[in-house]
Symmetry: C2
Subunit: 210 residues, 2 copies
DNA sequence: CATAATTTTGCGTGAACCGCATATTTGCGT
DNA sequence: ACGCAAATATGCGGTTCACGCAAAATTATG
């Protein structure tokens, strides 16, 4: 076991992230297929090949499991924002960071269509089912806090004292959520990217009366 | 029973609203006093003088009960917004509607200090305890939807098709939440009103880099 | 290879949530 | 004022959760 395979650190960490993803994905898939109430924790655990007790070691509720994937994606915005050069105008960095998140993550490059459809159905579930909605919004709030910190570092403001960084973060999440809602509702379907850019620009422009 | 006391319609509706308020208030008070996990549904029901089963007729979870008061207050913003004259500039109406919500509601004009303190502690609880956070954010989302509809009616836009009304609504809630967070955190304490006005103005102005 | 650290698992407990049937209360017409 | 219909409150029972705890299994380290 001395010769390392791939990961710089721990096979442990990797396995943990894997089962976490497995569980979240299983939760989404099953909930989409048969409806949230017809899925027991036991089912999710079984589908992920793990004991029911272990499920609760990773997530403290079904909702948390379902939202986990969304949370991970939302948090990528923060790391992406930190990656942008400090010389770049702030709002430009934000737009970039948010749009990158639209690209399919490294987890989902294989089967394009069927999995993508289920992911969309999953999002729809998250905003529809009351039991999941709360967790969904909590995930957004967590990402928002991260964005606020990043913005504060970047602009030399103070998250504790100044309104500015949190307002920016809140505005970003607001734009994201509004765009998502419209995208889910649109019939015929529309592209997410222009919707999101439009929403961000409108907020940055200060919402002039149309 | 022919001589009516006060309410135009139904004593039934009144009693219902009363027990609802009783339950919510009891839930907040108990949770603040002994911590959320040390409060059973049974305790809340008893404190409100109803059966445990009845609690679940009103709320489907402890969190929902705790947040109910906050929800009612948030929804008042919508009705207040509708009350403003259509001739008034939109953003001005919004600022008014939001600020009115800061005045103590009709439910809380008696004991000023001790109850107010507990209300503050209640809000702090709502944003701190994970189990309540979700419900808290859901309440905000519900109010946000109401605001969006009102804004759409007012500006002749379409909630389904246009981004504008939802963006405005989301911005309003964003400002409210950010202001609330800072207000809760501020030491020494600060006035809520100027904080909120400032947040709303910054968002309306389009978040220029400071 | 042995030992320590971390993770998984099984079991038991208390509580939550809800469907259903029943009792109680309220509104309304006469 | 009285009785009937509708709405609401209650009691009971069943299912599922969520989690603490201790033992087994897995992984890292020297």
């Amino acid at each position: 076991m001395s010769i390392e395979a791939g990961g710089r650190i721990g096979l442990r960490q990797r396995k943990k992230a894997e089962t976490r993803a497995m569980l979240s994905w299983a939760a989404i898939r099953l909930a989409v297929e048969r409806g949230l109430d017809n899925v027991r924790v036991e089912d999710i655990a079984e589908a992920a090949g793990v004991s029911p007790r272990t499920f609760n070691n990773y997530f403290s509720s079904k909702g948390e499991a379902i939202v986990a994937r969304h949370l991970d994606r939302s948090l990528r915005v923060v790391t992406e924002l930190r990656r942008r050069p400090a010389s770049e105008p702030l709002w430009e960095s934000i737009v970039h960071a948010v749009l990158v998140q639209l690209d399919p993550g490294p987890e989902l490059s294989g089967q394009p269509m069927p999995e993508h459809q289920q992911w969309v159905a999953g999002i729809r579930l998250m905003v529809a089912e009351p039991a999941v909605q709360g967790e969904f919004l909590r995930a957004s709030a967590l990402a928002e806090a991260g964005i606020a910190t990043a913005v504060a570092e970047r602009t030399g403001t103070d998250v504790q004292r100044d309104l500015y960084p949190q307002l920016v973060a809140a505005a970003v999440m607001a734009a994201t959520n509004v765009a998502t809602q419209h995208w889910l509702r649109a019939d015929p379907p529309v592209e997410m990217r222009p919707l999101l850019t439009e929403a961000l620009h409108q907020l940055a422009a200060g919402l002039p009366t149309p």
